[in-house]
Amino acid sequence: MKAVCWMGKKKMEVRRVSDPTILNPRDCIVRVTATAICGSDLHLYNGYIPTLEKGDILGHEFMGEVIETGPEVKKLKVGDRVVVPFTISCGGCIHCARTQWSCCDNTNPNAALLEAVAGHGGAALYGYTGLYGGYAGGQAEYVRVPFADVGPIKIESDLPDDKLLFLSDIFPTGYMAAENCDIVPGRGVVAVWGCGPVGQFAIRSALLLGAAKVIAIDNVPERLRMAEAGGAVAINHDEVDDVQDALRAHTGGRGPDAAIDAVGMEAHGSVYDQVKQTLKLENDRAYALRQAMRAVRKGGVLSIPGVYSGFVDKVPMGAVFAKAVTIKQGQTHMQRYLRPLLKLIEDGKIDPSFVITHRVPLGHAPQAYAMFCDKKDGCIKVVLDPAM
């Protein structure tokens, strides 16, 4: 089959590889009908997350048709149309029982690696380095899906792939980021750093959850326009002297009740961080995170869907402490959101396809990665089609 392989920093290749097979009794094989490139893939593309190997197949946003099931798969059948969440969860451990799906104990064969780094290992993810289990990803014609009865959501309606695909990651991710803000309907003001796909879904989710106002921060004009179209007030951080002042002006001096960092480890803005990251003295550039920590109001919430992988310098812990800020973060607990969010889509409350700017054949993935990374041609979200 064809698969999108990481062959080195900023070097993607579409290669012919073996077709996946059932390796464990609870596996199924999915023929991919649509897949996408995520902002998280850019951290891999740019070489910021260790334990990626040349030849690894990337991709964790995908959907398709079940074409084979292992002997212990009880619910899914061959022919079922499914969206697959990017976290792989077993359904039997204490974290799965508590719906902390992304903390699953039993799906990461390399849990010891993460344990050494973080104290404990989390759930495996598709196509996301050895640290996260080393599973082959879904930017391919076929993909092996472990624990088939726990992850994939079966689609009964005939909604098109475009409306469903983002249940695999960015819609639940934006939604959980907004839910973590503890929005008081009609009153909560939420500021969102980053108007990439995750930020876009966080903005719309915050409004669906009743936020009185959502303020979106970025410096990419078309992304800010999309945020405005979704109902946010936009701040271009290149056009204001000080983001915190601008936020004060929008909130009667209070600061936002909740701040969402939908940027993560590759924020632009600080030469200090860029140099340190390049010299490997710091894993992450936390410019947006620091800004969010200072801007959020007293007693507010800081919600972090943006990915951080290692050490961060100069975190204003004093500000977070002095203001009694609550921090919520982590990989999305995907399985918690699949059904409720599918219902929102079916009920017409949201059409996730708004975020798509490009549809290209799977074979054009290398160019698509470059375009998405460099934000060329107004690119916000790329869908790859294996059949094209």
Binding site: A3, C5, E13, S18, E53, C93, I94, T107, Y135, F147
Partner: protein
């Protein structure tokens, strides 16, 4: 000082045929499970894990020692000899040397604890204990494993030290991780055999 001999153990339900242990003599303050191994040379590792299954079920898995090779990564074979006796063998990676020993269960409290040790004359005297305690709040079972062995001198000892010397606890942790996955998820996670862009040839092709 409690007796090392299972025959005199008050808790043990079993009475192994060979009560004597390699060295039980001089060391003080040593728990019963330690004594198989000559004190100053022994290697001892302990790890624990919480498994969201009832203690009885977990105990049953361990009580049939033949299950253990399923959770141990390196090649290990265990044959049942009697209800309490078993024959273990593992291959060393030089010549065609196989390390073999007979083991016997010296303490057995259903649902709570199993302890075993090698019979006298084993090339690598060793012993192990696994205990099962309820986790707080009825959220599964805390499983604690202690292994100890007396590394021999020479080539075999060097190999063993290399095999386990760096991180013996890591190996026990890995076995417990696999055990937990098997009990909670019904399978051990793996990616072995999946496709990648490293293999130049297409071994497996659909249609």
């Amino acid at each position: 000082m409690p007796s090392p001999s299972p025959a005199r153990s008050t808790r043990g339900k079993t009475r192994p045929e060979t009560p004597a242990v390699t060295s039980v003599s001089a060391r003080k303050h040593v728990a019963p499970s330690r004594r198989v191994v000559r004190g100053d040379r022994g290697v001892k590792v302990s790890r624990s894990v919480t498994v969201r299954r009832p203690a009885d079920e977990l105990y049953a898995f361990w009580r049939d020692l033949r299950n253990l090779p399923r959770i141990v990564k390196h090649a290990l074979n265990i044959e049942r000899v009697s209800d309490i006796a078993s024959h273990w063998s593992a291959s060393a990676p030089f010549g065609d040397h196989r390390v073999e020993w007979d083991a016997v269960i010296i303490n057995d409290e259903p649902g709570k604890l199993i302890a075993w040790r090698s019979r006298e004359g084993a090339e690598i005297p060793n012993a192990g204990t696994v205990r099962f305690d309820p986790a707080p709040g009825d959220e599964g079972t805390e499983v604690a494993v202690t292994l100890e062995y007396n590394p021999p001198a020479g080539k075999l000892g060097a190999w063993l030290a290399k095999l386990s010397g760096e991180e013996p606890a890591q190996q026990v942790a890995e076995a417990l991780r696999r055990f937990k996955a098997l009990m909670e998820a019904g399978e051990i996670p793996t990616t072995e055999g999946q496709p990648s862009g490293r293999a130049e040839t297409t071994k497996n092709k659909r249609k």
